[in-house]
Amino acid sequence: MNNNLKKINIYAIYLGAIILILPLIAFFINAFSFRWFYPQVIPKELSLQAWVRLKLIPKPGQRTFEGFIELWASNPAVIKALLNSLSIGFLVTIVSIIIALPAARVLGLLNFRFKKLIIFIMVSPTILPPIAFVLGLNINFISWGFSGNYFGVCLVHLVPIMPYVVLTMTGIFANYNPDFEHQARTLGANKTRTFLLITLPAIAPGMVVAALFAFLVSWSQYLLTFLIGAGKVMTLPLLVFSTASSGNPALTAAISIIFIFPAILILFFTSKFVSGESGATSGFGKI
């Protein structure tokens, strides 16, 4: 690649990064400001009022260690939603990977009739508008008793998550040589140890990426949670939307920060697995 092109590429990356980061900075200032309106370039007054109203920081005068504990122990809506989002996210991530593992192995290693068709049907939830299938699902979920509870929400989150997880893991298995397992078996490793010592290290990078996708898709799910949870299962996206429609920018900014912070944290720790050189994503072309 010639040098100028390289430079342009680097600038493009910088530009992209700025476009992504600038709103975050604005968010951050907003969350700690008091009445920051249009012509002002910087807010006149900094304040923690948004955080107080979210019941994450105690009122002035009660900001001691005990004060924090007491406030958080009162189970404010934000913390409840945060815990819900986190636990649903982790649960569906683990379940989706357990389900996807055998499917991805077959799709990645074997060739059979209708394989393309099966892959197409499998990824169809990503093309279909969620409202289209969730309304139909809702009727069934109500009759099965899954509607309006935690379990139902977890179940419906699996619908948009599975395609990402299965596809990512299929990519890994397309690059995977099962003879390594056979080799370990002839050397005296039983099935469990073969999986732990041979298979798992080989597919771990792909599993991390798949888990990342799964968690983030679940984390940002609004419509499905809203409809199947019937307002009884409160997650962070639901709280963000209802707060945003209340029209207090500082409050919205504060809760948005809580919303995006875990996502950024997870991306930060897993980014090395997502890069182009990683084994996790290099198998995609082979599916």
Binding site: N177, H182, A184, T186, A189, N190, R193, A202
Partner: protein
């Protein structure tokens, strides 16, 4: 030190219209070095995988030291296979790779370290224990794979195309190493190859397999001198085949009666086929042979260094003869020649 009996082994795959392995019977003695020889896709690797337990046979039995292996899981069979592409575990260094089998047995770590060192010395690769497989050359990887396979004293060692991924000069070296180690450890060894020369150089006995069927199982020498059928003879470079009929303790052909001394005369069918290796045919311009001598015409002469090859037409029959170039009579194309087929060198077979 283990002997292996394969009985009526059959294995089919849905994607193939003939059985991949069709009724194979083999008795391999303790400490033997046996080659499974045949073109690719003939089922030889399938047999190996059934011995390791990675495939289950449709029917038949595999018996190791009087005990059927079929119900025993792969990891408890004591059968170790070295795959064609070595398959060193990429996340482990050489020491960890070589010590893998002992670690699986739960051997004490100090003893493992000691044994790993011994094995690496045996394959002449000391001092590379801390490297990762990626940092090794193909030949080194092959040796490490061999060390890894041998560390737990396997009852049977299986090698899948052990030399096919190596350069020519490494191949000779590796072949010597395999023979040396095999003789030292006396481990019953089976290796798979499609290279007839490799099988002859390495093996005590060769099992020749075509299309899933065992053709013959005997010493390399017998394949040259006493092949069982045309296919086997052709695979080992046989080119001369003469249709014959039994007649008065001899064989009659359309070039004349051929005297035959082979010990299998009584086993021969009425119609049979005579073969003789090109290097065993003798030529002379004057008819100075007692019997089995036929008049023919030289069709072509091809000089190929140490040997010269002649094609001779005798009564519509084309024979090929290969003579040492040194001290050769002056024979040219279109010369009339007497062809002598020494009666102790010809061999007759049924198919």
């Amino acid at each position: 030190m283990s002997k292996l009996n394969i009985k009526n082994l059959i294995k089919s795959f849905p994607s193939m219209d003939r059985p991949a392995v069709n009724n194979v019977n083999l008795d391999i003695e303790s400490g033997e070095l046996v080659a499974f020889l045949g073109p690719s896709g003939c089922g030889k690797t399938t047999i190996l995988k059934m011995i390791t337990g990675l495939f289950q046979p449709d029917s038949g039995d595999i018996i190791l030291d009087e005990q059927s292996l079929l119900k025993i899981p792969t990891e408890k069979r004591g059968v170790v296979m070295v795959f064609q592409n070595y398959l060193l575990f990429p996340y482990m260094n050489v020491n960890e790779n070589v010590g893998f089998a002992l670690k699986m047995k739960g051997v004490d770590k100090n003893i493992i370290d000691q044994k790993v060192k011994e094995m690496l010395e045996l394959v002449k690769l000391p001092d590379i224990g801390l490297r990762k497989p990626k940092q090794l050359s193909g030949g080194q990887q092959q040796r490490v794979a061999l060390a890894r396979a041998l560390i737990s004293n396997p009852r049977i060692l299986l090698l899948d195309e052990p030399l096919s991924n190596l350069d020519a000069h490494l191949r000779d070296e590796m072949r010597d190493l395999i023979v040396t180690i095999q003789q030292k450890l006396k481990v019953t060894t089976i290796f798979v190859t499609h290279d007839q020369e490799e099988a002859v150089l390495l093996a005590d006995k060769i099992a020749l397999i075509f299309d899933g069927e065992l053709q013959n199982f005997t010493s390399p020498k017998n394949y040259y001198e006493k092949p069982k059928n045309i296919k086997a003879a052709k695979f080992f470079g046989g080119v001369n085949f003469i249709n014959a009929k039994k007649h008065n303790d001899n064989l009659s052909t359309n070039i004349g009666t051929i005297h035959y001394k082979g010990e299998n005369y009584t086993d021969l069918n009425e119609d049979n086929i005579i073969t003789i290796r090109p290097e065993n045919i003798k030529l002379s311009k004057n008819n100075d042979f007692n019997n089995n001598s036929f008049k023919g015409l030289i069709k072509s002469v091809i000089f190929s260094g140490t040997h010269t090859r002649y094609k001779i037409i005798v009564n519509d029959l084309e024979l090929e003869c290969s003579l040492q170039s040194v001290g050769l009579q002056d024979i040219k194309t279109d010369d009339t020649i007497y062809v002598h087929l020494p009666s102790d060198k010809i061999w007759a077979m049924n198919e």
